[in-house]
Amino acid sequence: MSVEARKKALRFLFGPTADRLGYKFTPNDEDADFLLEQLAGIEAQTGVPYCPCQARSGDRAADMRMVCPCIPFHRKHYDAMRRCWCGLFVHKDVTDPDALRQIPENRIR
């Protein structure tokens, strides 16, 4: 499968899950396209679409928390940012994703 075809497939697969979690794809199409391309590449290398912005440790249980869409494993953190760490998903009510900031998990109260 080509990278472009896999990007479309990932969008198709992730969309309903994100929707049920209260999130949607970022409306910044350029960012979404870049992130989906990275996910497709990581999946081609490892067999799993791990988050492109988090490092894997080699510990399976820990690494499973980084499989996209990883929202359920970081709910409090991501809800506070109104986006996931890599920014592929934002809260459904977000219209300007560029106004959102990444906040380190240790600064979430």
Partner: protein, 83 residues
């Protein structure tokens, strides 16, 4: 001149934006792609991030002795002493 170090992943959008931020400001920085390092170097980087109180999410930015995680221009400016 403050010393700026960026730990990044080659696949990370926000790492690219962070590097671009410092480039556009004309601030020299050292950047290391975690995923391009060998296992020993990765372990050292992860331990450094953990010691600073952070997990292994990227980008990780050190400006002199202060550290932060994530792309946040306001925080970068504060750390650079511009705010």
């Amino acid at each position: 001149m403050k010393k700026v170090t960026i730990y990044a992943l080659s696949t990370c959008l926000w790492c690219r934006k962070t590097k671009k931020y410092f480039e556009e400001k004309g601030i020299a920085f050292d950047a290391v792609d975690y995923d391009k390092q060998d296992e020993a170097a990765q372990k050292r980087m992860a331990e450094e991030m953990k010691a600073a109180g952070f997990n292994c999410s990227f980008p990780f930015v050190r400006i002199d002795g202060a550290c932060t995680q994530g792309y946040d221009p306001d925080e970068f400016e504060r750390m650079l002493g511009e705010k």
